[in-house]
Subunit: 270 residues, 4 copies
């Protein structure tokens, strides 16, 4: 379905199932369609809300440069429309950064926060990685090669060669679409200057932070940093996985989300 | 409640809630009472079955030496009585070893297997640690000091000094009870010669393997071994935690269990 | 100095100091000049032999595609000329792969083998990363952005922003040189199909294997693999460092090399 | 040789070889004889100074309780006598704690500081572990079982069962000597209240900090803490090793020491 923002742009979203809402915010290259296999397990006892960011999937494209603020406000408008009660907010990578800022800005709306492969800032290093991505946009295969291997663990990528080659065949045509590529550039650039290190102490809701051994995009020291600075947070580490946890370890991925949002207990008196 | 085994001994057990059964097998020094705080979250949508092993908690004491086999058979009798459908089987440490063997012996009974801080064998090293425990049984404080600090991460133990001292006060009188101590010796000795390394390939049910960074009893390479040799297994690592994950990281502990047993999906077609 | 190979090509090499030779094999983007700061510490009690691979630094360029074999044979010819006694052989990354194969082919020449950030094979993943490099060769900045951030740990890169920017200024003009770039493509492609996993058992000399926490090019599981399969090997891990250990942790880098080659003891009888 | 302190007590020490002095401070259960196999490699180009702490090896026993201060002052007197030039100071575990404090108190005497398996404080947890040791002193085998398995990695201990059993045979008679045991109690107790966390910023000399994956006595977070708080320090991590690095990984142990003390370079201008 489409939701019209006050700025006239439309956000594509999906609602599946019933119960306490669980909002899923995509990684930069993902869209609502990426979650196809996860809809059933995640909407069993929760209302699952999927959404494409602006410049993503079936949401409207933008044309000018913007920052995370634009995405946060769009998500806020949509969620105000969809629900009046607090919800669980999950984000991965780009979506984790938006989720983190959303929770800082609107703490009363977020019951539990789930940050997978998320950092509290866009480091100078990641900025240059983003520049590499932008530089490769002229050629679909270059774009694939510059972005995709980086997102998986070398182990998974190598052991699933056939699957990766299938993926390559699907992605290359997409990376040839000028509209997709110009969206990717804007999305990538919207993360420059992101830094909420000095606001993490504001977070109080139960927060799950998940990192992975071979996550090269948001390496584990960044999840350790979040865990040290978000008071009510739990830290979990996925051995052998890369940045794309949901593809490399789907069972663990779903287990962590379902488990953490069904863990309603505030405090254990042991 | 008590269940009378064919050998005449009685097993103490508790059943909480309704739904697909989740059977919890205790660590060596635990009992059904250890799970008090976890009953509510774990019995929300599952039938939670707690049980004291022979020589544990409110179950009957034994008098002769025995092996794991005795415990496995007792659990088997009880579960045959309690349920005719497959269940989820969770074990931690000693309970993990029994769970592992139970699942090898009775694969059709176990839908999902959850092994926390578990090894596939009692190493010579752990055998000597067990001997240290046995040697300290003459003195309650010696027994406390030899066993308890070893079970927690140095970080948690140090940061929760007051809580540890409370615990010490509660445990010392228990460790003065000859019946408790002689049970502990038999339980400890029942693990000698445990080794199922060459049977792990028999396991096919979805299995969750959890280890912890500062688990000194069953160090992480043992969970890595399980993960490499149990085909359908997921491996998760808890940074900063010690052997007693449920006390050090209760939220994560419950999240992992609830998440994994509610993850019904066989296969993700990504 | 230049050494003329039987195929007519010239290898550039340098010899510094006296003593048991220590041969240093460069990473793919390095050259003898990369070691400027390391010459003094590494040639104090050893004869330090630096060499540019074919297509590297001041050695001759090639024009046709080749494999590692070409480099190994060139190094063999040079070392046969320079020394008749066994030497210590150090390699990092690309140089580590050549060193590894050299030691397998000519075990009697290598007294101690030092493999830093080295793998036993070029995985499909690394092959695709290499393809990304090749795809970026049309544009100097693209080439910088695709290769360089990948080589450093995100921490080091970010904390040393000014130094990285200096480096960028120096590298961009180099990356504009067609001769340099065409050499890089050939060097990169020469690693495709490299795989000596089934020959590691042949190695018997004392071997030091060093890996780094944030080495994204040859991740740590590959050094663990080498350690498990090279019988007489020692494994060391550098926390927080990336692939370019010598730049990120120069003191540790030199300490490990000097220490390991001065450790003459065969066996400790403890 | 014996050196008479101003308090009348005698310290046993040995001097081997010539060159810049390298002073080795023992772990709590060690003595100068523990280094037998290491004398040759470590005294090749350095003057190696071994010393038994008071209450250790061939040094005099004490009779009253004391703190680290007593040991530090004794070492200071001895080293003032032995050398007037700065030296390299190595300490492991107990010896690392003394070395750390020595370097804080007498920074001009220490050219390079090497801290293996060392912490900046005796945590409450380690204090209780020490209490376990003290409680086991009534029985030689209990003392062995409580202290020794704890010091090795489970892997090494298990894989070297025959060697461990040999060691047990040698240690049990020693642990039966009342004089040895009463010394061990005093040494153990001398570490209570040790805490130099707020003095680490005073250290400026090049410092090597080594930790090990399965070091259960001084777990790795304590070496990470030292590394973060000692400005000019390098951190290295030994996979698979326990607390007794010198026995589990002797080649790496010697390599790290020899390498770091021969690394004379102040700064790399890269």
């Amino acid at each position: 379905m489409k939701f019209k923002l006050t700025n006239g742009k439309k956000l594509y979203y999906e609602v599946h199932g019933e119960g306490k809402p669980l909002v899923i915010l995509n990684g930069i290259m993902m869209s609502t369609t990426s979650w196809k296999e996860f809809i059933a397990p995640l909407s069993k006892i929760n209302q699952l809300i999927l959404v494409d960011f602006l410049d993503q999937g079936q949401s409207d494209k933008l044309t000018e440069a913007y920052t995370h603020k634009t995405q946060i406000e769009a998500i806020k408008e949509l969620l105000d429309f969809l629900t009046s009660e607090p919800f669980h907010l999950f984000g991965i990578s780009y979506g984790g950064e938006i989720a983190l800022q959303f929770a800082i800005n609107y703490p009363d709306s977020v019951e539990r926060l789930l940050l997978f492969n998320t950092a509290a800032e866009t480091s100078y290093w990641l900025e240059e990685v983003g520049n590499a991505w932008n530089k490769a946009t002229h050629d679909a295969e270059a774009y694939y090669l510059t972005t995709i291997p980086f997102i998986y663990s070398p182990l998974f990528f190598t052991e699933n060669k056939a699957w990766m080659e299938e993926r390559k065949k699907k992605l290359i045509p997409l990376f040839k679409e000028p509209a997709f590529i110009s969206s990717m550039i804007r999305l990538t650039n919207s993360s420059v200057n992101f830094n909420v290190k000095n606001k993490l102490h504001l977070l109080k809701m139960p927060t799950l932070i998940a990192g992975a051994q071979y996550d090269f995009v948001t390496p584990f020291y960044q999840q350790e940093y979040l865990n040290k600075n978000i008071r009510n947070s739990e830290l979990v580490y996925i051995p052998l996985s890369g940045h794309a946890i949901m593809y490399e370890k789907p069972h663990l991925f779903v287990s962590l989300i379902k488990g953490f949002i069904s863990e309603g207990k505030d405090k254990y008196v042991l």
